[in-house]
C-alpha cells in the first residue's frame, strides 16, 4: 500500500467513522457500516465468471451453501441458501460478507475470502494468499447481486 493511498484511507475513515483495512499484499478497502461500498478492483465484476467461481469445488462455497445450481449434485446445508441473496443485500454488503464475514459475526463459520492475517497454521501452499483474488471477489459479488428470486 503506498503512503498516499494510506493517508487517503485514514481521512475517509475519520470522515465516516469507519475502519480502513488492507493487509500485506491485499488491496485496501473501506468499510462503511456493514458494507464495502467500493469495488476492490475499481471495476465491475463479471456475473458469468462469478457463477463459475461459486460452483467450482476448490472455492468451497458449495461445501456449506446450496443455491440455484440444478447441475450440482452436492451442495451443503450448513448455512443459508444463496437463492435470493441479491434481494437481501446490496453489492457493498455482499462484498464485506465475502471479504471478511467475521467482521459482522466473530463466531461465523464462513471463511474470510479476502484476508491473510490472524490465521493459524495455514498450510504452506496457501500461506499469505487470500482464498479468492480481488478480481474473483468482484465477479462473485456481481453474480450474487443477480440472485434476486427468493
Amino acid at each position: 500500500m503506498n503512503v498516499r493511498r494510506c493517508a487517503l484511507l485514514v481521512l475517509l475513515c475519520a470522515a465516516t467513522g469507519t475502519v480502513a483495512s488492507g493487509q500485506g499484499s491485499l488491496r485496501p478497502y473501506v468499510i462503511v457500516d456493514d458494507a464495502i461500498p467500493a469495488s476492490l478492483t475499481g471495476t465491475r465484476g463479471d456475473p458469468g465468471r462469478g457463477r463459475a467461481i461459486v460452483v467450482a469445488r476448490q472455492n468451497t462455497c458449495l461445501l456449506c451453501h446450496s443455491g440455484p445450481f440444478p447441475e450440482e449434485r452436492f451442495q451443503g446445508n450448513l448455512s443459508p441458501s444463496l437463492k435470493g441473496t441479491g434481494a437481501r443485500w446490496n453489492e457493498g454488503q455482499l462484498r464485506l460478507r465475502l471479504v471478511d464475514a467475521s467482521r459482522l459475526n466473530a463466531h461465523t463459520i464462513m471463511p474470510s475470502y479476502y484476508r491473510v492475517e490472524g490465521l493459524n497454521r495455514v498450510a504452506p501452499a496457501w500461506r499469505g494468499k487470500p482464498i479468492l483474488s480481488a478480481e474473483q471477489i468482484e465477479d462473485v459479488v456481481a453474480y450474487l447481486a443477480t440472485l434476486r428470486d427468493e
Binding site: G76, L78, V122, I131
Partner: protein, 267 residues
C-alpha cells in the same frame, strides 16, 4: 442463530461423573450432551452398515487376519512373537484399545496404541519399528483393536494425562488453516448436516483403524485427522506427532462409553 449461540456459551467448569470423575475439563462451548453422542456408524448408509456388520463382507477383516499372523510370528533379534509375551490376544488384549492412549512412565508422556506396538517391536523383539500407515502396523493395531469390539471406551483415570487432555480440547476448538475453522465448529456445532455431499459425523475415534471406501484401504485415526486438517487448509502434523496423541486423548474422552467398532467401515 444456533451455531453462534452455542459457541459463545461459556460453560462453568464441569465435573464429569462417568466412572472417571477424576478428570474434569473446562469446555469453551457446549459439547454434545452425553446422551446424544453417537458413533459415525449411526449415520452410515444401510449398505455400508451391512458391510461393517458382516465379517465376511468387511474388508477390514483382511487386515485383522494379517495382524493375527504377525501376532504369532517370531521376529527381531530376540526371535520372539507378540504371543510369546502376551499369549492369546483374545483374552489378554480385550479392552486395551478402549483405554489407549495411556501414560508411559518411562517416556514421561502419553503414547497411542501404535506407539505401544512399536515400543514392543523395538524393546522386546529387538526389531525395527513399523512405519506409520504400513500394512504391518495397521494390521496389528486392527487385530488388537478387534479384541475390544463392543467394549465401551474407558479412558484411564490418570491425572498425568490431564494436561494432554486439556491440550487436545484446546486444539479441537482452535481455529486453523486458510478456512479458519475449528474441529468443534463442524463436529460439535454442525454434526448431522451436509458438507457438500458428506454427512458431518460427531468425529468419534471408536472405529479405528478402519476401512474407508474413499481410501480403498484400512487407515489410522491419524490419517483421518490429517484429512480434516488438510481440508481446513492447515498444515498437518507429521505422523506420530504429540499433537495427534493429545487430540486422540480428547477424542477418546469425548467418546467415552461408545463401543469400539474396530475395524469399522466409513465412506
Amino acid at each position: 442463530m444456533i451455531v453462534n449461540s452455542k459457541r459463545t456459551q461459556w460453560l462453568a467448569p464441569v465435573a464429569v461423573m462417568l466412572g472417571f470423575a477424576a478428570i474434569e475439563v473446562i469446555s469453551a462451548h457446549a459439547e454434545i450432551p452425553l446422551g446424544e453422542r453417537r458413533s459415525g456408524y449411526a449415520d452410515l448408509a444401510p449398505d455400508t452398515k451391512a458391510m461393517q456388520d458382516d465379517d465376511t463382507a468387511n474388508p477390514g477383516m483382511l487386515w485383522v487376519q494379517d495382524g493375527e499372523a504377525l501376532w504369532n510370528a517370531k521376529s527381531g533379534a530376540a526371535n520372539r512373537a507378540c504371543a510369546d509375551c502376551h499369549n492369546d490376544a483374545r483374552t489378554t488384549m480385550t479392552g486395551v484399545a478402549a483405554r489407549y492412549p495411556a501414560f508411559n512412565s518411562k517416556l514421561g508422556r502419553p503414547i497411542d496404541l501404535e506407539q505401544r506396538i512399536n515400543l514392543c517391536r523395538v524393546e522386546r523383539q529387538q526389531a525395527s519399528a513399523f512405519a506409520y500407515e504400513s500394512k504391518e502396523l495397521l494390521s496389528l493395531s486392527a487385530f488388537i483393536g478387534k479384541q475390544s469390539r463392543g467394549e465401551p471406551i474407558a479412558p484411564p483415570t490418570d491425572e498425568r494425562l490431564r494436561p494432554f487432555l486439556e491440550a487436545g480440547l484446546e486444539q479441537f476448538n482452535r481455529r486453523q488453516g486458510q478456512l479458519n475453522l475449528s474441529c468443534g465448529q463442524c463436529h460439535d456445532d454442525n454434526w448431522g448436516k451436509r458438507l457438500a455431499g458428506s454427512l458431518i459425523p460427531q468425529a468419534h475415534p471408536n472405529g479405528y483403524p478402519l476401512y474407508r471406501l474413499e481410501w480403498q484401504a484400512v487407515g489410522s485415526l491419524q490419517r483421518r485427522l490429517r484429512n480434516c486438517i488438510v481440508g481446513m487448509r492447515a498444515e498437518p502434523y507429521d505422523y506420530g506427532a504429540p499433537e495427534y496423541v493429545s487430540l486422540e486423548i480428547y477424542l477418546m474422552w469425548r467418546a467415552r462409553g461408545l463401543p469400539i467398532e474396530t475395524p469399522a467401515v466409513r465412506p
